[in-house]
């Protein structure tokens, strides 16, 4: 038996105990997304002694991340490090007794099962609905419990999903809300205290599950606003039975099959990428324009909306298609789309 004394204050907490601590040490988790939520999840769970942590993220660190993404610092930016790698380095300094695996990759329908198949619990550190639905599909398919978390402004949401027991994410949200009604961190902002709270709740759910405290898991869609201190718990009991859910009722994994995937096309020689949405949306240009208005320049007519912000030029069409100029990397274009337009 290895020495577990470093976790003494944690297992002194009677819900965990020495036995729970040993369970944590032998547990494996995957954290999808390494931003505001992901870095807090990693920080908390690495310190808590979860034995294996896989971190998956495709992005590089930018200066405007440091305000809330707790594992990163200015040195990482100077080194131009991918988020997953920078996080892995920090974790090794925080807790050399656990194993960490950094994967710099887009998470999509072709690879997600590989990332989660050998873990006990999955944590959501993403910033978009498409990836969350993908996590949901994969977790329901492979029977992996996971925790959903999302934050914008001062407000966040979380829910814990145990396939076969609780409603899944698609029982709760059948489809993603229209993008112009879904603000993103890059358009509506985010304060670090909000993401810290939600990530702490998510991490606690993981600890409960992994230490054998399933009875204490959150069974609601929990909403908290750090600014107004408004709390709401939407009861989910019965939803699983009531919802005609394509994922957990019909076993149709629409995101995992690739049917519900954004398609990207690099435009030859133009340093631009075209993104096509899988779903049928009709964007409200007025809403979207008011969002871009805060952070850059924007104009629109009934056919298209053109905006410039963050060094990128966007041409957005009513059905959600967009041409993003300023990159020819499809993965980066997807990130930018998720940031400014949403999914």
């Amino acid at each position: 038996m290895s020495d577990i004394s470093r976790y003494h204050r944690q297992y002194l907490f009677n819900k965990i105990g020495e036995q729970g601590q040993r369970k944590l040490i032998s547990s494996r988790i995957a954290i999808i997304g390494c931003g505001a939520l992901g870095t807090v999840l990693i920080n908390t769970l690495a310190r808590a002694g979860v034995g294996f942590i896989r971190i998956v993220d495709r992005d590089f660190i930018e200066f405007n991340n440091l305000q809330r993404q707790v594992l990163f610092d200015e040195e990482d930016i100077k080194e131009n490090l991918p988020k997953a790698i920078a996080a892995e380095r920090k974790v090794k300094k925080i807790n050399s007794q656990i194993q960490v695996e950094a994967i710099v990759s887009d998470v999509n329908f072709t690879n997600i099962e590989r990332f989660i198949q050998d873990v006990d619990f999955v944590l959501d550190g993403t910033d978009n609905f498409e990836t969350r639905f993908l996590i949901n599909d994969a977790c329901v398919k492979l029977g992996k419990p996971w925790v959903y978390g999302a934050v914008i402004g001062s407000h966040g949401l979380t829910a814990t999903i145990i396939p076969g027991e609780t409603p899944c994410l698609r029982c709760i949200f059948e489809t993603a809300p229209p993008p112009e009604l879904t603000p993103t961190c890059d358009t509506a902002g985010i304060i670090a205290s909000a993401s810290t709270v939600i990530a702490s709740l998510e991490a606690t759910e993981a600890i409960k599950f992994l230490t054998g405290n399933k009875q204490d898991l959150n069974r609601t869609l929990y909403s908290y606003d750090v600014w107004t201190r408004q709390t709401q718990s939407f009861k989910l009991g019965g939803l699983r039975e009531a919802a005609d859910c394509p994922t957990c009722k019909k076993g149709k994994f629409e995101f995992l099959s690739g049917d519900q995937t954004q398609k990207t096309t690099s435009l030859c020689g133009r340093n631009a990428v075209q993104i096509t949405r899988p779903d049928n949306v009709t964007l409200d240009f007025k809403e979207l324009a008011s969002r871009f208005d805060q952070i850059g320049s924007v104009k629109y007519n009934s056919f298209l909306l053109q905006a410039t912000t963050g060094g990128y030029e966007f041409t957005v069409f009513p059905d959600g298609r967009a041409i993003i100029k300023g990159t020819n990397d499809p993965a980066q274009a997807k990130t930018i789309y998720a940031k400014y337009i949403g999914t």
């Binding site: 435009l267 030859c268 133009r270 075209q274 056919f303 298209l304 069409f317």
Partner: protein, 389 residues
């Protein structure tokens, strides 16, 4: 949906193509020529018939020398890489598609061959005399498109065939490889009369076969070294791929029998309809399209006005408008499918002055109507009037 992207692949296909492929795959699709049972023999029979039909269609005397490929790119690669050897010189043009330019550029960049790229006169036609002048004593291959996939301008293949066959200095006798991606099925091609040594064609464009089909005719003068070797169902005791026995030399592995059967049906449709009727209808569409687009302010038309000198692709640019954006608007607001950009022919846009954004390409096909052309043109007008606001 008004589909005006037939230069990329024809759509829809004649009904008989769908029906025949469905029946073949359900009832007849054994591995052709591999086994002696009746299904295998019958499947082989279909492929032999398809080969013979296509050979006749292109005026080739020897059907065995017409091989089936994956697409026109595959055909061009088999020919270019199978013919050119260390120290050879090749001639091509700036009109070409990347399926010609990239294999040649790659061979040139590793120092294996020397390459000359000819420019057309201002109207987009290559002067055969320029080819004659470019022939050197080590010129092995002349590769030219039969018609540009950007502007549709037809090249004088028969005259080019003549100068290439005459050869040049020091008795250089190059081979002529023609890329018929935009013409096979719309313009009569006669490999004997046109003095074409190698003809590369797609099955899925104007021959109305399904995607995944194509062919290469290899004339008697051409020696193509196969680089794809494997099972042929023929002379299996030999350790080596049969390099001189056609069609096996250039066809290894189980063929796309379902596709080939569909292609045969597409060619039968052309023969039944009459290639002259197909050509006449497509010309009437192109004529209407050009006439109407010409009247819209700020629209630049490329290519030739005389529709007897072009095939279907019609390219335009509009002042101050991104082709890619415009094509999305046509698609989502008017259900009109066109293609925008470089159309995989980068040098052509240097020539036209349309680099780097490219053009908006309308490519009507036999199944389009004059009405649909009208719809497309009014969509262009409508978008432009909204964009002006």
């Amino acid at each position: 949906m008004v589909y005006l992207d037939n230069a990329a692949t024809s759509f829809p296909k004649p009904k008989r193509v769908y029906e025949r492929m469905d029946r073949f795959l359900r009832e007849e699709a054994a591995n052709p020529g591999r086994s002696g049972h009746r299904l295998s023999v019958a499947a082989e029979g279909q492929i032999v018939q398809a080969r013979s039909l296509l050979a006749k269609f292109f005026g080739a005397k020897n059907p065995e020398r017409l091989i089936f490929t994956l697409n026109c790119t595959d055909s061009l690669n088999i020919a270019i890489k199978g013919i050119l050897q260390e120290g050879d010189h090749a001639i091509t043009t700036v009109l070409e598609h990347n399926s010609v330019l990239r294999p040649l550029n790659a061979l040139e960049s590793i120092g294996k061959i020397k390459l000359t790229k000819l420019k057309p006169a201002s109207h987009g036609v290559i002067d055969p005399q320029d080819i004659k002048k470019a022939i050197q004593k080590n010129t092995k291959l002349v590769v030219i498109t039969h018609a540009s996939n950007v502007v549709g301008v037809i090249q004088p293949i028969r005259e080019i065939g003549r100068v290439v066959r005459e050869g040049g200095v020091d008795r250089a006798r190059p081979l002529l490889l023609v890329d018929a991606a935009q013409t096979a099925g719309v313009i009569p091609i006669d490999v004997e009369g046109d003095l074409i040594d190698l003809l590369a064609f797609p099955g899925h464009k104007s021959l109305y076969g399904p995607p995944g089909t194509g062919g290469l005719y290899v004339g008697e003068r051409a020696k193509v070294i196969p680089w794809r070797e494997g099972g042929t169902g023929f002379r299996s005791e030999s350790q080596f791929h049969p390099a001189d026995t056609f069609p096996f030399a250039l066809e290894g592995g189980t063929p796309n029998s379902v596709g080939i059967v569909g292609l045969k049906e597409g060619v039968s449709f052309i023969l039944e309809t009459g290639i002259e009727n197909i050509q006449a209808h497509e010309r009437s569409l192109v004529q209407r399209l050009r006439e109407e687009l010409k009247q819209i302010p700020n629209v630049q038309l490329y290519g030739l006005e005389d529709v007897t000198k072009t095939v279907a692709p019609v390219s335009i640019t509009i002042d101050g408008v991104e082709p890619q954006e415009f094509s999305i608007l046509l698609d989502q607001s008017f259900q009109i499918a066109v293609r925008a950009g470089l159309h995989c022919a980068p040098l052509m846009h240097g020539f036209l002055g349309t680099a780097p954004q490219g053009t908006i390409r309308f490519s009507p096909g036999y199944f389009n109507t004059l009405d649909e052309i009208g719809q497309a043109v009014s969509a262009v007008r409508e978008i432009l009037s909204e964009l002006k606001k």
